[in-house]
Symmetry: C2
Subunit: 195 residues, 2 copies
Amino acid sequence: MTKQRGEVPSASIGSKRTTGGGGKSGRTRSKKPLAEVLGEQRVAGLRINLESMALVSNIHRASTTIRDHFERSMLTEAGLHWSAFVALWCLWIYGELETRRLAVEAGVAKSTLSGILNTLEARKLVRRRVNEAERRLVIVNLTAAGAALISTLFPRFNAEETRIVARLSHAEMRAATDAIRTILATIAEIDEPAG
Amino acid sequence: MTKQRGEVPSASIGSKRTTGGGGKSGRTRSKKPLAEVLGEQRVAGLRINLESMALVSNIHRASTTIRDHFERSMLTEAGLHWSAFVALWCLWIYGELETRRLAVEAGVAKSTLSGILNTLEARKLVRRRVNEAERRLVIVNLTAAGAALISTLFPRFNAEETRIVARLSHAEMRAATDAIRTILATIAEIDEPAG
DNA sequence: CTCTTCTCGTTCGATATCGAACGATAATAC
DNA sequence: GTATTATCGTTCGATATCGAACGAGAAGAG
């Protein structure tokens, strides 16, 4: 199918990002398997672990590629960017949350969430209220419109998630998920003692 | 850097680890396994594929967590942010590259790369020159200082990559990498025909 | 040759995001 | 009680990033 078949090279490290809008533009990929380039070039004498490099860099590449894919295929038409979508999703799953926790769950800084909530609130998709028992806390929840939006959007989103992993067996999917969780746990242990 | 990243809301099924009340920044985690929450709440009647959701969202979480980890532990002290580091790395591996291709390899828009190169050039880590045979092209390469920097930095970087995946066997690492590549290839096939 | 069309890299304006600083509130110490 | 310390959400300024628009250069049509 005309795609530059050879690619997704056996160790294509550079994450590529398709430069969205144009569509016509950034489709090129490295023509040469990276391992080969590496062998030829710098890394020869330098005890580099190619396996870990390949895994880590492919995680990044996958993340941006997936995000771009979903933003273009579904989120733009819903008028949401990634983080706003994630925030809605969290509220849908967990029910109301205080701002601090929602920021953690959504993976953004609390200051970022503040802006996101302003936007969502202006569109009447979420509501904020002060917790009376603890007046420092602000509780966020979905409005009816917000719930309607996310409960329509997420099943479609999830169907597409399923589509992009469809070539993996259940065992492969589970193994990959477990591996990533193991990495996350390892990083957490490295980072947490220090702070 | 040093964002108080939490996580992409994902099936942190085994996660736990509440860091107690203290943790001033975003280290808190969901106390409740997500699958349970999901069961209790919305998704009950909605044919949601939890496995694909877990994999996709953990990829995102891993990406931001890894990136933050490296930015804080190594890149900040070198005065680089993520994309600048990746750009240097690409130039180190591939040798000189025209701007267009470097943007693709580094995973940023060409306009973004332009700014990154301005910074790197000001620090005398890279050099730009016009390709005489094709005067639209700009070729970028490392200066001696740039090469010295990245060839010192990357082995340390790679050692840390190896550390964060150290709990995985070679087979697990390979399986995870393959799975992610399969996902990338699938997305490429989905996106490319349409444009 | 001239005109049109295409392809580069850069510039520009808009937006997302972060960390730090801030005011409000709560908890603790004395 | 009052003072100090800690925690919350918001505001603010700085920066990263993108897409669109632009100008320079190249390629093709006639």
